[in-house]
């Protein structure tokens, strides 16, 4: 856009010469000019209607006519554009309303029909379909809790005990001492330290501003992570956990969030990752590659050619259950089905993402792919992504995910060479 003052300079001339400023008002104040225009130009396009300054030869009539025509075309186009924008906004609003209405209806169905009869309804076709479409936020926490279950039989009391112990520990260890640093290089002691949890809490969904110091959920997140290090001192605190706990906190009360957190982390895939069990992680990557090759052979070959191994992008995706890499609402939808289908869905989602971006990825080299996948676009079309996930078949030569994984576990040599030392 041309700056405003340029426009102003010529205004007076425009007023007097174009004759649009209205008769009997030759020295009208500047602001009346705009009022008299049929259409307010978005920039200085109207300047082409003006005659040349007096010290220059006058514009030929033909040229003036041409300019008028051009100007009118520009105005028409701008109007068309505005109309289009308005239509788009209206459509967005309608979509939004429709979506909200369908969420409302869905919430009713979940509340009145599904949840009261959970054990019988949860495996039905209809519920599975509804589940795929995303659980309404108002019942999300409840459904997650039910689906994750509580195999560990953690009670609210146990949470209180763990939390009390954590608080006791924090009180008695004023600062991380040098001795423990030096002696316990291999243990989880350092990682469970208050310092690291503190550091990470400030870096968990920073844009939401609710988990940071002084934010409403800061203490809750701190408590859950601290309680977990006392509940599972053998695992301790590992980066990535803060994101998982934060997502749970957004959907559940504190004690229930803790129960879901501990049970989620207790799943085989999460245990393998959070304990950084190398060989098991490799097995997971290898299983992922089996389905990758099966579903997206061309892209798989492209990745191989560029030596882009799955660990590069999967580590972040799996550790945080996509909560760091996908927009939060979309991540929650992934969690919905993850709670239903377990670890298999995490890898299926990964393949869905690769399928969604297949075309752009095949044009990239190693570094661009690595950059793209470790920092996904800000806007990811949810429906499209889920269509692509749905198109991923989780069978390979008649074997399901669990079978492929099991076969690879028995024969680790067939695993991916990634990360092997």
């Amino acid at each position: 856009m041309v700056s405003e003052h340029l426009h102003c300079e010529d205004k007076r001339e425009y007023e007097t010469k174009s004759g649009r400023a209205g008769p009997g008002n030759p020295t009208s104040p500047r602001h009346s000019v705009r009022k008299n225009l049929d259409f307010e130009p978005l920039s200085t396009t109207a300047l082409i209607l003006e005659d040349r300054p007096a010290n220059l030869p006058a514009k030929p009539a033909e040229e003036a006519q041409k300019h008028r025509q051009q100007y009118e075309e520009m105005v028409a186009q701008a109007k068309k554009r505005e109309l289009k924008e308005a239509q788009k906004r209206k459509k967005q609003l309608e979509d939004r309303c429709k979506l909200e209405e369908s969420i409302g209806t869905a919430a009713q169905i979940w509340n009145q029909e599904i949840l009261p009869n959970w054990s019988t309804t949860c495996t039905s076709r209809r519920v599975r379909d509804l589940w795929w479409q995303g659980i309404p936020p108002s019942v999300r926490g409840k459904v997650w809790s039910l689906a994750v279950g509580n195999e560990l039989n953690i009670t609210h009391e146990l949470y209180s005990i763990c939390l009390a112990r954590a608080k006791e520990k924090w009180r008695t260890t004023p600062a991380p001492s040098l001795e423990t640093e030096a002696e316990d290089a291999g243990s989880s002691n350092r990682e469970s330290s208050l310092e690291l949890i503190k550091l990470d809490i400030s870096r968990t969904f920073p844009q939401l501003c609710i988990f940071q110091q002084g934010g409403p959920y800061h203490d809750v997140l701190h408590s859950i992570l601290g309680a977990y290090t006392c509940y599972r001192p053998d695992v301790g605190y590992v980066q990535g956990m803060s994101f998982i706990a934060a997502v749970l906190i957004l959907n559940l009360d504190t004690a229930d969030a803790f129960i879901a957190f501990a049970n989620l982390l207790n799943k085989p895939c999460q245990m393998a990752f959070f304990r950084v069990d190398h060989s098991l992680m490799l097995t997971y990557f290898a299983a992922f590659e089996v389905f990758f090759e099966e579903n997206l052979p061309k892209l798989f070959a492209h990745f191989q050619k560029n030596n882009l191994t799955p660990d590069i992008y999967l580590i972040d995706w799996i550790f945080t259950l996509y909560s760091k890499s996908l927009p939060l609402d979309l991540a929650c939808r992934v969690w919905d089905v993850f709670c239903r289908d377990n670890e298999e869905f995490l890898f299926r989602t990964g393949l869905g993402l690769l399928r969604l971006y297949q075309d752009v990825l095949t044009t990239m080299d190693f570094i661009h792919m690595a950059q793209f996948l470790t920092r996904l676009p800000d806007l990811i079309p949810a429906e499209q992504l889920f269509q692509h996930i749905a198109a991923i078949h989780m069978t390979s030569r008649n074997r399901k995910w669990a079978q492929v994984l099991q076969a690879l576990q028995k024969d680790p040599e067939r695993g991916s060479p990634v990360l092997k030392h």
């Binding site: 040098l178 290089a185 990470d200 990535g240 950084v276 030596n307």
Partner: protein, 208 residues
């Protein structure tokens, strides 16, 4: 700065050091001139590139920003392979992050090319009032271990450009003296004989 797609060399550089010392912000300052007060925890590895002009060469720095967490180290150390440069970062206001430098070095030399160019970087120089690591001490340490040294501030940009450029220059010098590259565009490794240099690009990403 050359355009992204025309360059003579690709240098793989890794950023390592304890959690929270500012690795990701050093990188974003260098590649995007951005600093994020509330940056997110790095999990695994993230990437960025920038092409710089050194002498008459366009050098594309391919920077691998690794997670600092101890527990991840087993994973991230695999990413040192093929790196020709490293910035080992500590926080001048947190002595513990400096004390662990030795461990990081060991990890680095265990997995990376022995000829790798390493710079010890004391970040957060803007926090001088909270300093717990004296400059001289770190400088002496770096000298003893044959490392380059610089204090930086990703927050106010002090020395960030310098630190990366000095490392890239030093790599370039090594590369030029060894003549390990062929062709106009090639990722380089420092120890390979010339015949293998063409393979450089692959080596730089392969973990086996």
């Amino acid at each position: 700065m050359g355009s992204d797609e025309s360059y003579n060399f690709v240098f793989k550089v890794v950023l390592i050091g304890e959690s929270g010392v500012g690795k990701s912000n050093l990188l974003s300052r260098f590649t995007k001139n951005e600093f994020n007060h509330d940056s997110r925890t790095t999990i695994g590895v993230e990437f960025s590139t920038r092409t710089v002009q050194l002498d008459n060469y366009a050098i594309k720095a391919q920077i691998w920003d690794t997670a600092g967490l101890e527990r991840y180290r087993a994973i991230t150390s695999a990413y040192y392979r093929g790196a020709v440069g490293a910035l080992l970062v500590y926080d001048i206001s947190k002595h513990l992050t400096y004390e662990s430098v030795d461990r990081w070095l060991k990890e680095l030399f265990d997995h990376a090319d022995p000829h790798i160019v390493v710079m010890l970087v004391g970040n957060k120089r803007d926090l001088d009032t909270l300093r717990t690591v004296p400059t001289e001490e770190a400088k002496d340490f770096a000298e003893k271990r044959g490392l380059m040294f610089m204090e930086t501030s990703a927050l106010d940009s002090t020395n960030v450009e310098n630190a990366f450029n000095e490392v890239l220059k030093a790599i370039h010098k090594k590369v030029a003296s060894r003549e390990v590259t062929r062709g106009s565009i090639c990722a380089v490794t420092l120890s390979n004989p010339p015949s293998e240099a063409q393979e450089g690009r692959r080596n730089c990403c392969r973990s086996t």
